[in-house]
Symmetry: D4
Subunit: 254 residues, 8 copies
C-alpha cells in the first residue's frame, strides 16, 4: 500500500506529472508513519526467526491462545509465552495442542526448531531458586542455545561449586541465579573468563526485602564484568545469554 503510494509518486515524477519541488516537499515532510519503511526488528525478536516471545503476565488465556494461533499460521521458529499461570496454560493447551507447558518456570511454548548451539550454563544456589533458573534455562534453550544446568551449588558449600570447575570453563555464557545474599555470582565470576549474567531472586525472608539484598550484592560484585538483570527475571537472563551465545565463535568453547 504505502509502497504503492511511493511508487505512484515516483511515477508521477518520472512522468513529469509532479514537479520536483512538490515531490521534494512531500518527501521532506514525510511524516513518522512512513517509518515502517525502515527495517526495524520490532519487539527485538531475533531475525532468524528462532523465537517469538509473548509476555504472558496480564494477558488472558484467550489472548495468549489467539496470538499463538496467529503466529502458528506462519512457518517460523519457536514460540514462547512467559509467566503463564497453570490454569491459563491448560486453556491455551486445549486450543493449541502443540503448546507445551513447564509448570516450574511457568513457560508455555511451541517448539518448532531444535538448535543446540554453543553452551549456556545455568547455575543456581538453592532449590528455591529453581523456578527462575528454569525460566532462564528453558528460554535460552528455545532461543537456540545448548543449555546445561548446575543446581544447588550455594557458596556455603563451596566445594560443590568447585567440583564443577571444568564444566564452568567450557560454557560460552554463564547465568548465575541466586537469592538471599547472592554471593554465588561473585564466586563464579572469579572462576571464569566468559560473560556472566547474574539473576537475583526474591528467595529469602526478612532483610532480603524480596530480592533487594541479592540485587544489590550482584550489582556490587567484586568480580569484574558481571552484568545483572531484574529480580526474578530468568527470561531476561536467558534471552541475553542466548543472544551472546548465538554470536560467539564456535571454536571458542573449550
Amino acid at each position: 500500500m504505502q509502497e504503492k503510494e511511493l511508487e505512484q509518486l515516483l511515477g508521477q515524477v518520472a512522468s513529469g506529472e509532479m514537479d520536483l519541488a512538490k515531490a521534494k516537499e512531500m518527501l521532506l515532510h514525510l511524516p513518522y508513519e512512513e517509518l515502517q519503511f525502515a527495517k526495524i526488528d520490532h519487539h527485538r525478536e531475533m531475525r532468524q526467526g528462532v523465537c517469538e516471545v509473548i509476555y504472558g503476565a496480564g494477558k488472558t488465556a484467550k489472548q495468549i491462545s489467539q496470538i499463538l494461533q496467529h503466529l502458528l499460521a506462519v512457518p517460523g521458529g519457536n514460540l514462547l509465552a512467559t509467566r503463564v499461570e497453570k490454569e491459563k496454560a491448560a486453556y491455551v493447551q486445549s486450543q493449541v495442542p502443540q503448546a507445551q507447558y513447564d509448570a516450574v518456570s511457568r513457560l508455555l511454548y511451541v517448539r518448532r526448531k531444535q538448535e543446540e548451539k554453543g553452551l549456556v550454563l545455568v547455575l543456581c544456589a538453592g532449590t528455591a531458586d529453581l523456578p527462575v533458573a528454569e525460566e532462564a534455562a528453558l528460554t535460552a534453550d528455545l532461543l537456540g542455545a545448548k543449555v546445561q544446568r548446575v543446581y544447588d551449588v550455594g557458596v556455603a558449600g563451596i566445594h560443590r561449586l568447585l567440583e564443577q570447575y571444568p564444566l564452568l570453563r567450557q560454557a560460552n555464557v554463564l547465568i548465575v541465579v541466586a537469592g538471599m545474599e547472592g554471593a554465588l555470582a561473585s564466586v563464579v565470576g572469579g572462576l571464569v573468563e566468559k560473560p556472566v549474567i547474574a539473576v537475583p531472586t526474591s528467595v529469602g525472608y526478612g532483610a532480603s526485602f524480596d530480592g533487594l539484598a541479592a540485587l544489590l550484592a550482584m550489582l556490587n560484585s567484586c568480580s569484574a564484568g558481571i552484568t545483572v538483570v531484574n529480580i526474578d527475571n530468568g527470561f531476561g537472563a536467558g534471552f541475553a545469554a542466548a543472544n551472546i551465545n548465538r554470536f560467539m565463535k564456535e571454536d571458542e568453547s573449550c
Copy 2:
C-alpha cells in the same frame, strides 16, 4: 546538503537517469539519518523562539559562553542557562556582556523579548524555598508569562495564605514551592480550579530526607489534579507552567 541529495535523486527520476524501482528501493530503505527531514522540535524548545534553554550543570563556563554566543548570532527569543554557579556566571558575563545573572536562582540569561502573557503565580512556604521559587518564577517569566510571587505563606499560618485568596483565583497556573512537609500544595489545590504544579524542595532536615518527605506528600495530595516535578526542579515547574499558560484563553483569567 541532504535536501540536495534528495533533489538530485528526484532530478534523476524526472530525467529518467534513475529507474523507478531503484529510486523506490533507495527511498524505502531511507535510513534513520534522513529523519531530520521531519520537523521535530528538538530540545523541545518552543517554536516561537521564546526561549532557548541550556542545562548549565556539568558544563564549563567556556562551553556556556560559546553556546550563548552561537545562539546570539541568530536573532531570536530569550536565552536561559540553568544551575550556573556564581564564578561561571562572572566569566560568561565577561564574554557575553548582554547576559544577566540572578544569584538566587542561579539562572544566567539574555532577555531579548519581553512578553507578559496571562498569569503564573509562584507561591512558596518559607524563605529557604526562595532559590527554587525564583528559578520557577524567572523561568516562566523568560518563557513569556506574566509572573507574580506570593512568598512565605506556609500553612502553619494559614491566614497569610487565605489573605491572598483573590489573587490565587486570578492566576492561570499556580506553582507551589515547599519543603519540609509540603502541605501548601494541597491547601492551594483546594482553593483554586486552575492547574497547580507542585515543586518539593530539599529544605528541611532529619526525616525530610532531602526533600523526599515533601515529594511524597505532594504526590499523595488529596486535592485532585495537582501534578508534581522533581525535588528542587524550579526550572521544570516554570517551564511547564509557562507552557500551559501560553496556550490558555486570554479571557479565562478572571
Copy 3:
C-alpha cells in the same frame, strides 16, 4: 440565612438598636464558620457543573448509592465515582439505574452531559497499563474533553510510537501511562510542545518496587516540563489534563 443575620445586624446598627462598639465586637470576632460567605469552590469541583467526583475507595456500596441519588436530585453535570469494585458497582446500579460501570477502570458514572472539547491524548506502554490509562481517559472524557487513546506504544518498539507522531502533535494535553521503566514519558515529552502529564503504574515486578522505578524515572525525565502524578493515579492525570484542556484556546489544537 447567615446573610439574613448580617442584614439584621446592620439593620440594628442603622436603627441605632445596636451600638457601634458591640457591632464592631461581633464582626471582629466573626468566627470562621462565617467563612462560607467567601466563594470557595469546595471539593475543587468544576464550577460549570461538568462533573462531581466521589472517591469510591473505602466507601460502602450503600454510601455511594446515596450520594449519587442525592446528586441526581439536582440537575447538573456528570457524576463520577472512582475505584469502585465490581460488586459494589452492581449494587449501586440496582439502585441508580442511570449509572454506568466500566470494569477496566473501575469507574462508576452517570453521564448527563456530553462535551467534546479540545483533545486529550492518552498513551500507554503496555496492555497491563490499561486499567490506569482507561481511568485517565474516561475521567477526562467525563470532565468534558475529547479523548483519544494510543495504546501499546512502549519504547522497546519505538517505531510504533513514531508512527503516531502527527496525532501526538494535535493533542492539547498528553497523558503518558507507563509502568516498568517509564521511559515512554521522556520520549513523548521530547516529541511535543504541549503539556505532558506522566502517570507511573505499578506494572512490573522485582525492582519495579510497585511502581517506584517508573515514578522516579518520570520525575527525573530529561524532557523539560513533564509533570507527574502518584503511581496508578489515572484519575488525577485525567482530572489535571481535562482542567488544562478546558482553559486552552480553541484554535491552538493544530
Copy 4:
C-alpha cells in the same frame, strides 16, 4: 511474701539473731528480683485505675477472655483490648457478657467508670481514616477524657476545617488523624496553641507507601511542637492525649 522475708530479717536483726555485718551483706547483694519492692507502675497503666490495656494482636480469644475475667475479679477502672478481630470479639463477649465491641476501631472493652474530663478533640481528614480516628477517640474516652470528633475535614476543602475554629480552640489536646499527604496536622497545628498529636494512617495508594508519606510529612511539619506516633497507632495517640489531658488545669479549657 517477700515483705515477710524482709520483716523476718529485720526481726532477726532486732532480736540479735542475725549480726549486722551479715544483714548488711544480704541487703547489699539484694538481687534484682527484689526490685518489686519499688513501686513501678508496670505496664505503664494509670495508677488511678482508670484503665487496664491488653494488646490484643497476637493473642487468642481465649487468652483475652481469661485476662479480662481475671481483671474483672478485682474492682477497678475500665478495661480495654486493642486490635481485636470481630470473631475473637464475639467469643470473648460470649464469655464476658459485660464486654462491648466497637467494630470500627476493633476495640473490645468493659466500661466500669464514666469520666468526662477536659476535652480531647479528634480530627480526621477522610472517611477512610475512621478506624484509626475511632481507636484514638474511644481510647481517650475510656481513659477518662471527654472526647469530641471532627471528621472529614481534609485540607483540600480548608473551609470545612476553618468552620470548626472555635471548637479547635476549646480543646485541651488535639489528635489529628490523616493518611495520604497528612497535611491536616500542619494546618491544625498552626491554628491552636494546645498540644497536637499527629497520627499518620496507611490510607492511600502508590507513593503513600502504606503511610510513609503521611508519617514523613507529619514529622517535618512546619507547625512547631507537633508530636507524632506510629502509622495507624490510634491507640497510642489516644493514650498520650488522655494522659496530657488528665494532668491539665481544669480552667485552662476556654
Copy 5:
C-alpha cells in the same frame, strides 16, 4: 487600622451615610485578607508573650539581627532564634548586645522574663546527643518551664538511669534524646506515667542512616503513649514539652 475601617463602616451605617445593601455587600465579600479580625495566634507563638521564635536556618545574620531589633522595640517575652551558626551569632550580638548565644545548642536568645514553672526533664543517652538535648532544654527553659537535665544515661548501663528514678517521677513532662538505637525512650516510657516526648538524633554511623534507626525505634516503642518529633528536632520537643507543662496543674508534680 483595619479595626478603624470597620468602625468607620459601621459609623456610616449608623449615620445613614451608607445604605444597608452596600454595607452587607462589602461585609459579605469581605475577602480573606480581613481574616486577621479573627484571633489567630499566628506563628503559633504563645499568647502570653513568653517567647517569640525565629527559625534561624537559611536566614542571614543581618535578617536575624533586624527581626530581633524589631521585636525588642516592643515589650514582651523571651526571644529565640534556632540553628544559628557561630559566625552569624557573633554578628547579631554585635548589633543586639542583649542577645546571648549558646554554642552547643546553636540557640541565640534574649531573655526578658524568667519563669520556672513545673518541671521538664531532659534525658539523653550519650554525650554526642548533647547539642540536641541542650536545644530542647534551653527552648523549654525560655518558654517558661523549669528544666532539669539527666545526661549520659544510655541503656547499656541501665543502673545509671534507674538511679534517677525518683527524679523521673517528679517531672511533668520528659524529653528523651537518643541516637543510635534510641532504646532509652522505651525504657523511660515504662518508668513514668507522665507524657514522654522522644527525639531521635543523627548520632551514630553505618546503619543508623543519619537517625533513621532511632526514629523508627521510637515510633515503634512498646511503651504506650510516647510521641516523637523529627530527627535532631530538639526545638520541637522543647516547644511541645513547655506547652504541655504550661497547662499542667501545679500540684500534679509530686
Copy 6:
C-alpha cells in the same frame, strides 16, 4: 573410588609403570573435582554429628520425608527441618513416625541424642515474638545446648527483666528476640558480659516496616559486642548460640 584412583596412580609410579613427569602433570592439573579429598565439613554441619539441618521452606513434604529417611538410615545426631508448615509436617510424620513437630516454631525434628551442655538463655520481649524465640530455643536445644527461656520481658516494664538478673549472668550465651523497637537487646547487652545474639522480629505494624525498625535498632546498639542475625531468623541465632556454647569452658558458667 577416587582414593582408589590415587592409589592406582601411586602404585604405577612405584612400579615404574608411569613415569614421574606424567604423574606430576596429572596431579598438577588435578581438577577441582578432586577437592573432596580435603576435609571440608560441608553444609557446615557439626562434625560431632549433633545435628543435621534441612531448610524446609520451598521443599515439598515428600522431599523432606525422603531426606529424613535417608539420614535416619545412618546412625547419628538429631535431625532438624526448619520452616515446615503444619500440613507438610503431618505428611512427614505419617512417613517418619519418629519425627516430632513443634507448631509454634514450625520445626520438625527427630531427637536421637539428648545433650544439655552449658546454658543458652532465650529472652523475648512480647508474646508475639514467641514463634521466633521458640525456633531459636529448640534449635539450640537440638544442637546440644541446655536452654532456658525468659519470655515477656519487654523494656516497657524493665523490672520484669531486672528480676531475672541472676539468671542472665549464669548463661553462656544469650539470645534476645524482639520486634517493634528491639530495645531489649541493648538493655540485656548492658547487663551481662557473655555473648549476646540479637534477633529482630517482624512483629509490629506501620513504621516497623516488617522488622526493619528492630533490625536497625539492634545493629546500632550502644551495648558493645552485640551481634545480629536476619529478621525472624530464630534458627540462625540458635545455631550460632549453640555453636559458641559448645566451645565454651564448662566452669565458665556461674
Copy 7:
C-alpha cells in the same frame, strides 16, 4: 557512704532505736538510687580488667586525655579509645606519653597487659577494608586475644582464600570484613565450624549505598550461624570475638 547509711539503719534496728515497721517501710521503698548495691558491670567492661573502652567520636582531645589519665591512676588492664582523629591523638599523646596511636584503625590505646589467648582470625576482602579490619584486629588484641590477619582474600579470586584453609580451621572465632557485595562472609562461613562474625564496610560506590549492600548480603547469608554487626563497626566485631574467644576451651583451638 550508702553502705554506711545501711549500716546505720541496721544498727538502729539492732539497738531498738528504729522500730521494725519503719525500717521495713524504708527498705521497701528503697528507691532506685540504691541500685548500685547490685554488682552490675557497668559499661559492659570485662571484669578481669583486660580493657577499658572510650568511645572517642564526639569527645574532645582534652576529654579523652583526662579520662585516660584518670584511668591510668588506677592499675588495671589496657585502655582503648575508638574513632580518634589524628590531630586529637597527637594532643592526647602529648599529655599521655604512654598512649600509642594506630592511624589506620584510628585507635588510641595504652597497653598495660599482653595476653595472647586462643586465636581470633580477621579476614578482609580488599585493601580498602583495612581500616575496619585493623580496628577489629587491634581491638581483639587489646582485649586479650591472639590475633592473626588474612587480608585481600576477596571471593573474585577464591583460590587466595582456599589457600588459607588450614589457618581458617585453627581459629576460635573468625571476623570477616568486606564491603561491596560482602560475599566473603558466606564463603568463610561455609568452610569453618567456629563462630563467624561479619562486618560490612562502606567500601564501594553507587548501589553499595554506603555499605547497605554488604550489610543486607551478610544478614541473608546462606551459611548458618553467621552473625553481623553494624556497617564499619570493626570495634564491635573485635569486642564480640574477643569475648567469645575468652570463654573458649583452651584445647578447642586447632
Copy 8:
C-alpha cells in the same frame, strides 16, 4: 617450588623411599594451599594478556606506581588503573613515564598492544555522563575492542539517536550510559539485536537519588535482554563488553 615438592614426593614413591600409604595420605590431605596447581585465571584477568587491571580507589600513588613497575618488568598486554585522581596520576607518571592519564575517565594506563577487534559502541545521554562513558570506552579499547562513541543522544531529542541507527546495527556490543531517568537504554535495546549493557550514572538531582532512578529504570527495561551494571561503573561495562566482543564471530559485525 611446590612443583618441586610434588616432584620430590613422586621421586620418593618411585624410588621406594616413601611407601604408598603415606604418599596417598599426604596427597589425600593435600590442603587447599596446593590449589594453585589448578589453572585458575586469578583476578579474572584475560589469559591472552590483553590487559591487567588495578583498582585504583583506596590505593596510594606509590602503591599504584610499584604495581605498574612490577607488571612492566614482564612483557605483556596493556595495564590499566581505574579511579585514579589527578594528583596520584601525576606522581605515577613521574615514576612510570610510559603511563598515560585520561583526566575525564580518571583512567591511568600503559598501552603496550593495539588491538581493534569487532565493534563496541558507547552511547551516552548527556554531557554530564561523559566521565562514565569514557571510562567504559577506554576500558573496552584497552581490552582490545574497536570502540566508537555516540554521545549526547538523550531520548528527549529522539531524532538524534535515530540518525545513528545504521551505526547502532553495526556494533557487536552496545554500552548505554545514562543518568536521570535512564530511558536511553530501553530505546536502544529496542533498536538492535546485539547485546546491550546499561550503565546508570549518578547524574541528576533530587529524586534521582544518586543514580537510583536510572538504575531501577534500567533493571525494569521493557526491552528484553538488557543487562545492567552498578551506578557509574563504566569500567565494569567496558570490561563485560570487551569480553563479549572478544569471543564474537568476526563476520557477525555487519
